[in-house]
Subunit: 197 residues, 2 copies
Protein backbone atom coordinates (compact mmCIF):
# COMPACT_ATOMS: atom_id res chain seq x y z
CA UNK A 1 0.00 0.00 0.00
CA UNK A 2 3.08 2.18 -0.28
CA UNK A 3 3.72 4.33 2.70
CA UNK A 4 7.22 4.98 1.50
CA UNK A 5 9.11 5.49 4.76
CA UNK A 6 7.50 2.43 6.33
CA UNK A 7 8.03 0.29 3.22
CA UNK A 8 11.69 1.22 3.03
CA UNK A 9 12.23 0.36 6.69
CA UNK A 10 10.47 -3.00 6.24
CA UNK A 11 12.59 -3.73 3.18
CA UNK A 12 15.87 -2.98 4.98
CA UNK A 13 14.87 -4.83 8.17
CA UNK A 14 13.87 -7.92 6.19
CA UNK A 15 17.51 -8.26 5.04
CA UNK A 16 18.59 -9.09 8.61
CA UNK A 17 19.25 -12.79 9.24
CA UNK A 18 16.22 -14.40 10.85
CA UNK A 19 13.74 -11.78 9.64
CA UNK A 20 11.62 -12.22 6.51
CA UNK A 21 9.19 -9.70 5.03
CA UNK A 22 6.37 -10.85 7.32
CA UNK A 23 8.28 -10.61 10.57
CA UNK A 24 9.87 -7.33 9.41
CA UNK A 25 6.35 -5.90 8.97
CA UNK A 26 5.42 -7.02 12.47
CA UNK A 27 8.64 -5.59 13.89
CA UNK A 28 8.10 -2.22 12.20
CA UNK A 29 4.53 -1.88 13.50
CA UNK A 30 5.79 -2.83 16.96
CA UNK A 31 8.54 -0.20 16.71
CA UNK A 32 6.09 2.52 15.62
CA UNK A 33 3.74 1.65 18.49
CA UNK A 34 6.61 1.82 20.97
CA UNK A 35 8.24 4.92 19.52
CA UNK A 36 9.55 6.36 22.79
CA UNK A 37 10.41 3.16 24.62
CA UNK A 38 11.86 1.15 21.73
CA UNK A 39 12.29 2.90 18.37
CA UNK A 40 14.21 5.94 19.63
CA UNK A 41 16.49 3.92 21.99
CA UNK A 42 17.14 1.47 19.14
CA UNK A 43 18.19 4.31 16.82
CA UNK A 44 20.50 5.67 19.52
CA UNK A 45 22.04 2.25 20.23
CA UNK A 46 22.66 1.68 16.51
CA UNK A 47 24.29 5.09 16.16
CA UNK A 48 26.54 4.31 19.14
CA UNK A 49 27.57 1.00 17.60
CA UNK A 50 28.09 2.52 14.15
CA UNK A 51 30.34 5.25 15.52
CA UNK A 52 32.31 3.39 18.20
CA UNK A 53 32.73 -0.28 17.25
CA UNK A 54 35.70 -1.30 15.12
CA UNK A 55 37.76 -4.47 14.66
CA UNK A 56 40.77 -4.96 16.94
CA UNK A 57 43.93 -4.58 14.86
CA UNK A 58 45.60 -7.43 16.79
CA UNK A 59 42.96 -10.17 16.93
CA UNK A 60 40.00 -9.05 14.80
CA UNK A 61 37.52 -8.95 17.72
CA UNK A 62 34.95 -6.12 17.70
CA UNK A 63 35.23 -3.53 20.44
CA UNK A 64 35.06 0.20 21.10
CA UNK A 65 38.80 0.27 21.80
CA UNK A 66 41.79 -0.90 19.76
CA UNK A 67 43.47 -3.14 20.90
CA UNK A 68 40.29 -4.73 22.26
CA UNK A 69 39.57 -5.33 25.95
CA UNK A 70 40.67 -8.97 25.70
CA UNK A 71 44.01 -8.17 24.00
CA UNK A 72 44.62 -5.43 26.57
CA UNK A 73 43.74 -7.57 29.61
CA UNK A 74 47.02 -8.46 31.36
CA UNK A 75 45.33 -11.13 33.48
CA UNK A 76 44.71 -13.20 30.35
CA UNK A 77 47.28 -15.74 29.21
CA UNK A 78 49.18 -14.26 26.28
CA UNK A 79 50.78 -17.67 25.68
CA UNK A 80 47.54 -19.14 24.29
CA UNK A 81 45.65 -18.06 21.17
CA UNK A 82 42.24 -19.53 20.34
CA UNK A 83 41.51 -19.20 16.61
CA UNK A 84 37.80 -18.75 15.80
CA UNK A 85 35.87 -18.20 12.58
CA UNK A 86 33.80 -15.31 13.74
CA UNK A 87 33.16 -12.88 16.60
CA UNK A 88 29.99 -14.85 17.37
CA UNK A 89 32.17 -17.88 18.17
CA UNK A 90 34.42 -15.75 20.36
CA UNK A 91 31.33 -14.60 22.27
CA UNK A 92 30.14 -18.20 22.63
CA UNK A 93 33.50 -19.23 24.13
CA UNK A 94 33.57 -16.17 26.40
CA UNK A 95 30.12 -17.05 27.75
CA UNK A 96 31.52 -20.34 29.01
CA UNK A 97 34.17 -18.43 31.02
CA UNK A 98 36.31 -21.57 30.57
CA UNK A 99 39.09 -20.02 28.51
CA UNK A 100 41.46 -17.35 29.83
CA UNK A 101 43.80 -16.93 26.88
CA UNK A 102 43.55 -14.60 23.91
CA UNK A 103 41.70 -14.98 20.59
CA UNK A 104 42.24 -14.58 16.89
CA UNK A 105 39.22 -14.03 14.62
CA UNK A 106 39.72 -15.29 11.06
CA UNK A 107 36.61 -13.60 9.69
CA UNK A 108 35.54 -16.72 7.81
CA UNK A 109 36.77 -20.12 6.67
CA UNK A 110 38.39 -21.29 3.47
CA UNK A 111 35.73 -22.08 0.92
CA UNK A 112 36.30 -23.00 -2.71
CA UNK A 113 32.56 -22.62 -3.32
CA UNK A 114 32.41 -19.04 -2.00
CA UNK A 115 35.81 -18.18 -3.47
CA UNK A 116 37.41 -17.52 -0.09
CA UNK A 117 41.14 -18.20 -0.10
CA UNK A 118 43.79 -17.71 2.61
CA UNK A 119 44.39 -14.09 1.59
CA UNK A 120 40.76 -13.21 2.40
CA UNK A 121 41.20 -14.40 5.98
CA UNK A 122 42.84 -12.59 8.89
CA UNK A 123 45.86 -14.96 8.73
CA UNK A 124 48.91 -12.73 8.17
CA UNK A 125 48.45 -11.12 11.58
CA UNK A 126 48.05 -14.58 13.17
CA UNK A 127 51.46 -15.67 11.82
CA UNK A 128 52.89 -12.36 13.03
CA UNK A 129 51.50 -12.91 16.53
CA UNK A 130 52.68 -16.52 16.67
CA UNK A 131 56.09 -15.52 15.32
CA UNK A 132 56.57 -12.92 18.05
CA UNK A 133 57.66 -15.72 20.41
CA UNK A 134 55.28 -15.20 23.33
CA UNK A 135 52.73 -17.73 22.07
CA UNK A 136 53.01 -21.33 23.31
CA UNK A 137 49.73 -22.86 22.08
CA UNK A 138 47.28 -22.25 19.25
CA UNK A 139 43.81 -23.79 19.71
CA UNK A 140 41.91 -24.13 16.44
CA UNK A 141 38.27 -23.70 17.55
CA UNK A 142 36.76 -23.87 14.07
CA UNK A 143 33.43 -25.43 13.16
CA UNK A 144 33.20 -29.18 12.57
CA UNK A 145 32.16 -28.59 8.97
CA UNK A 146 34.12 -29.57 5.87
CA UNK A 147 35.22 -25.95 5.32
CA UNK A 148 36.03 -25.47 9.00
CA UNK A 149 38.17 -28.61 9.14
CA UNK A 150 39.89 -27.77 5.85
CA UNK A 151 40.78 -24.38 7.31
CA UNK A 152 42.03 -26.02 10.51
CA UNK A 153 44.32 -28.31 8.51
CA UNK A 154 45.59 -25.43 6.40
CA UNK A 155 46.37 -23.23 9.41
CA UNK A 156 47.88 -26.15 11.30
CA UNK A 157 50.22 -26.84 8.32
CA UNK A 158 51.27 -23.22 8.12
CA UNK A 159 52.06 -23.17 11.84
CA UNK A 160 54.48 -26.15 11.54
CA UNK A 161 57.46 -23.84 11.18
CA UNK A 162 56.74 -22.07 14.45
CA UNK A 163 57.60 -23.46 17.85
CA UNK A 164 53.98 -23.76 19.10
CA UNK A 165 51.64 -26.57 20.10
CA UNK A 166 48.60 -26.68 17.81
CA UNK A 167 45.38 -28.31 19.08
CA UNK A 168 41.75 -28.47 18.06
CA UNK A 169 38.51 -28.78 20.02
CA UNK A 170 37.42 -32.32 20.91
CA UNK A 171 34.73 -33.94 18.77
CA UNK A 172 32.18 -36.13 20.48
CA UNK A 173 28.72 -36.47 21.94
CA UNK A 174 27.36 -33.04 22.89
CA UNK A 175 26.28 -32.69 26.52
CA UNK A 176 22.59 -33.59 26.71
CA UNK A 177 22.80 -35.31 23.33
CA UNK A 178 20.98 -38.59 22.68
CA UNK A 179 23.01 -41.20 20.83
CA UNK A 180 20.30 -42.20 18.37
CA UNK A 181 19.89 -38.62 17.16
CA UNK A 182 23.60 -38.20 16.42
CA UNK A 183 25.10 -38.56 12.96
CA UNK A 184 27.55 -41.40 12.22
CA UNK A 185 30.54 -39.06 11.94
CA UNK A 186 30.10 -37.75 15.46
CA UNK A 187 29.59 -41.26 16.87
CA UNK A 188 32.71 -42.55 15.13
CA UNK A 189 34.77 -39.64 16.50
CA UNK A 190 33.33 -40.11 19.98
CA UNK A 191 34.18 -43.82 19.89
CA UNK A 192 37.73 -43.27 18.65
CA UNK A 193 38.44 -40.59 21.24
CA UNK A 194 36.85 -42.52 24.11
CA UNK A 195 38.41 -41.94 27.50
CA UNK A 196 39.01 -44.33 30.39
CA UNK A 197 36.83 -43.99 33.50
Amino acid sequence: MAVNDIDRLIQILSRLPGLGPRSARRAVLFLIKKRESLLLPLIQAMQDVASSIKPCSLCGNLDDQDPCAICKDDRRDGGSICVVTDVADLWALERTAAYRGRYHVLGGVLSALDGIGPEQLNLASLYRRVGSGEVKEVILALGATVDGQTTAHYVSDRLQGFNVAVSRLAHGVPVGGELDYLDDGTLIQALRARSRL
Copy 2:
Protein backbone atom coordinates in the same frame (compact mmCIF):
# COMPACT_ATOMS: atom_id res chain seq x y z
CA MET B 1 33.06 -9.97 26.93
CA ALA B 2 30.93 -6.95 27.83
CA VAL B 3 31.29 -4.58 24.95
CA ASN B 4 28.69 -2.21 26.28
CA ASP B 5 27.44 -0.59 23.07
CA ILE B 6 27.05 -3.95 21.37
CA ASP B 7 25.38 -5.52 24.38
CA ARG B 8 22.89 -2.71 24.64
CA LEU B 9 22.00 -2.97 20.95
CA ILE B 10 21.54 -6.75 21.26
CA GLN B 11 19.35 -6.27 24.30
CA ILE B 12 17.08 -3.73 22.57
CA LEU B 13 16.90 -5.70 19.31
CA SER B 14 15.95 -8.88 21.15
CA ARG B 15 12.76 -7.15 22.32
CA LEU B 16 11.43 -7.09 18.76
CA PRO B 17 8.79 -9.72 17.98
CA GLY B 18 10.38 -12.71 16.25
CA LEU B 19 13.91 -12.00 17.55
CA GLY B 20 15.37 -13.67 20.63
CA PRO B 21 18.79 -13.04 22.17
CA ARG B 22 20.49 -15.49 19.82
CA SER B 23 19.08 -14.09 16.59
CA ALA B 24 19.62 -10.54 17.90
CA ARG B 25 23.32 -11.37 18.37
CA ARG B 26 23.50 -12.69 14.81
CA ALA B 27 21.68 -9.63 13.49
CA VAL B 28 24.01 -7.23 15.31
CA LEU B 29 27.15 -8.91 13.97
CA PHE B 30 25.61 -8.85 10.50
CA LEU B 31 24.85 -5.14 10.88
CA ILE B 32 28.38 -4.33 12.05
CA LYS B 33 29.86 -6.26 9.13
CA LYS B 34 27.64 -4.40 6.68
CA ARG B 35 28.05 -1.00 8.26
CA GLU B 36 27.80 1.07 5.07
CA SER B 37 25.30 -1.01 3.14
CA LEU B 38 22.94 -1.96 5.96
CA LEU B 39 23.53 -0.39 9.39
CA LEU B 40 23.68 3.24 8.26
CA PRO B 41 20.69 2.96 5.86
CA LEU B 42 18.73 1.21 8.61
CA ILE B 43 19.45 4.04 11.06
CA GLN B 44 18.35 6.56 8.43
CA ALA B 45 15.14 4.64 7.63
CA MET B 46 14.28 4.39 11.33
CA GLN B 47 14.86 8.11 11.82
CA ASP B 48 12.59 8.86 8.85
CA VAL B 49 9.85 6.66 10.28
CA ALA B 50 10.26 8.07 13.79
CA SER B 51 9.96 11.65 12.56
CA SER B 52 7.32 11.33 9.85
CA ILE B 53 4.88 8.52 10.65
CA LYS B 54 1.83 9.26 12.79
CA PRO B 55 -1.68 7.81 13.16
CA CYS B 56 -4.40 9.21 10.89
CA SER B 57 -6.83 11.23 13.03
CA LEU B 58 -9.79 9.92 11.01
CA CYS B 59 -9.17 6.18 10.71
CA GLY B 60 -6.13 5.32 12.84
CA ASN B 61 -3.99 4.12 9.91
CA LEU B 62 -0.28 4.98 10.02
CA ASP B 63 1.01 7.39 7.39
CA ASP B 64 3.28 10.38 6.85
CA GLN B 65 0.25 12.59 6.22
CA ASP B 66 -2.90 13.24 8.23
CA PRO B 67 -5.53 12.40 7.02
CA CYS B 68 -3.80 9.35 5.58
CA ALA B 69 -3.51 8.59 1.85
CA ILE B 70 -6.49 6.21 1.98
CA CYS B 71 -8.80 8.69 3.74
CA LYS B 72 -7.70 11.41 1.29
CA ASP B 73 -8.14 9.28 -1.84
CA ASP B 74 -11.33 10.48 -3.58
CA ARG B 75 -11.43 7.43 -5.84
CA ARG B 76 -12.14 5.24 -2.82
CA ASP B 77 -15.71 4.57 -1.75
CA GLY B 78 -16.48 6.74 1.27
CA GLY B 79 -19.74 4.81 1.75
CA SER B 80 -17.93 1.72 3.02
CA ILE B 81 -15.81 1.41 6.17
CA CYS B 82 -13.86 -1.76 6.89
CA VAL B 83 -13.12 -2.08 10.62
CA VAL B 84 -9.83 -3.85 11.42
CA THR B 85 -7.96 -4.65 14.62
CA ASP B 86 -4.60 -3.39 13.56
CA VAL B 87 -2.64 -1.64 10.81
CA ALA B 88 -1.14 -5.04 9.92
CA ASP B 89 -4.65 -6.26 9.02
CA LEU B 90 -5.26 -3.13 6.94
CA TRP B 91 -2.03 -3.86 5.05
CA ALA B 92 -3.10 -7.49 4.53
CA LEU B 93 -6.43 -6.36 3.02
CA GLU B 94 -4.71 -3.72 0.88
CA ARG B 95 -2.34 -6.34 -0.53
CA THR B 96 -5.37 -8.21 -1.93
CA ALA B 97 -6.43 -5.04 -3.82
CA ALA B 98 -9.97 -6.43 -3.48
CA TYR B 99 -11.42 -3.63 -1.33
CA ARG B 100 -11.82 -0.04 -2.50
CA GLY B 101 -13.57 1.51 0.49
CA ARG B 102 -12.06 3.16 3.55
CA TYR B 103 -10.82 1.66 6.83
CA HIS B 104 -11.08 2.14 10.55
CA VAL B 105 -8.31 0.78 12.79
CA LEU B 106 -9.49 -0.12 16.31
CA GLY B 107 -5.99 -0.55 17.72
CA GLY B 108 -6.93 -3.81 19.46
CA VAL B 109 -9.89 -5.95 20.45
CA LEU B 110 -11.93 -6.10 23.64
CA SER B 111 -10.24 -8.37 26.12
CA ALA B 112 -11.28 -8.94 29.71
CA LEU B 113 -8.00 -10.78 30.29
CA ASP B 114 -5.83 -7.88 29.13
CA GLY B 115 -8.15 -5.29 30.67
CA ILE B 116 -9.04 -3.72 27.32
CA GLY B 117 -12.50 -2.16 27.35
CA PRO B 118 -14.36 -0.13 24.70
CA GLU B 119 -12.78 3.15 25.86
CA GLN B 120 -9.29 1.82 25.06
CA LEU B 121 -10.26 1.25 21.44
CA ASN B 122 -10.55 3.78 18.62
CA LEU B 123 -14.38 3.56 18.70
CA ALA B 124 -15.64 7.11 19.40
CA SER B 125 -14.30 8.31 16.05
CA LEU B 126 -15.91 5.30 14.32
CA TYR B 127 -19.36 6.29 15.67
CA ARG B 128 -18.64 9.88 14.60
CA ARG B 129 -17.77 8.78 11.06
CA VAL B 130 -20.78 6.46 10.80
CA GLY B 131 -23.05 9.20 12.23
CA SER B 132 -21.91 11.70 9.62
CA GLY B 133 -24.38 10.14 7.16
CA GLU B 134 -22.07 9.31 4.24
CA VAL B 135 -21.42 5.73 5.36
CA LYS B 136 -23.70 2.98 4.00
CA GLU B 137 -21.89 -0.19 5.11
CA VAL B 138 -19.56 -1.19 7.92
CA ILE B 139 -17.58 -4.41 7.36
CA LEU B 140 -16.23 -5.91 10.58
CA ALA B 141 -12.99 -7.57 9.46
CA LEU B 142 -11.92 -8.74 12.91
CA GLY B 143 -10.08 -11.95 13.72
CA ALA B 144 -12.04 -15.18 14.14
CA THR B 145 -10.89 -15.44 17.76
CA VAL B 146 -13.10 -15.24 20.85
CA ASP B 147 -11.96 -11.67 21.54
CA GLY B 148 -12.30 -10.67 17.89
CA GLN B 149 -15.83 -12.01 17.65
CA THR B 150 -16.81 -10.47 21.00
CA THR B 151 -15.60 -7.13 19.70
CA ALA B 152 -17.52 -7.63 16.44
CA HIS B 153 -20.73 -8.30 18.36
CA TYR B 154 -20.17 -5.31 20.60
CA VAL B 155 -19.51 -2.92 17.70
CA SER B 156 -22.39 -4.37 15.72
CA ASP B 157 -24.75 -3.73 18.67
CA ARG B 158 -23.54 -0.16 19.06
CA LEU B 159 -24.14 0.49 15.35
CA GLN B 160 -27.80 -0.62 15.55
CA GLY B 161 -28.96 2.96 16.04
CA PHE B 162 -27.31 4.14 12.82
CA ASN B 163 -28.75 3.61 9.38
CA VAL B 164 -25.92 1.37 8.10
CA ALA B 165 -25.60 -2.23 6.95
CA VAL B 166 -23.19 -4.14 9.20
CA SER B 167 -21.45 -7.24 7.82
CA ARG B 168 -18.59 -9.49 8.77
CA LEU B 169 -16.05 -11.52 6.79
CA ALA B 170 -17.18 -15.01 5.74
CA HIS B 171 -15.94 -17.95 7.79
CA GLY B 172 -15.11 -21.16 5.96
CA VAL B 173 -12.46 -23.38 4.45
CA PRO B 174 -9.35 -21.31 3.63
CA VAL B 175 -8.21 -21.49 0.00
CA GLY B 176 -5.70 -24.34 -0.24
CA GLY B 177 -6.94 -25.78 3.05
CA GLU B 178 -7.34 -29.52 3.56
CA LEU B 179 -10.53 -30.54 5.34
CA ASP B 180 -8.94 -33.01 7.72
CA TYR B 181 -6.54 -30.38 9.06
CA LEU B 182 -9.34 -27.93 9.87
CA ASP B 183 -10.85 -27.50 13.31
CA ASP B 184 -14.48 -28.43 13.96
CA GLY B 185 -15.61 -24.83 14.37
CA THR B 186 -14.43 -23.87 10.89
CA LEU B 187 -16.01 -26.97 9.35
CA ILE B 188 -19.34 -26.31 11.05
CA GLN B 189 -19.31 -22.70 9.83
CA ALA B 190 -18.36 -23.79 6.32
CA LEU B 191 -21.17 -26.34 6.27
CA ARG B 192 -23.79 -23.92 7.56
CA ALA B 193 -22.81 -21.21 5.09
CA ARG B 194 -22.55 -23.60 2.13
CA SER B 195 -23.46 -22.10 -1.23
CA ARG B 196 -25.26 -23.61 -4.21
CA LEU B 197 -23.26 -24.43 -7.31
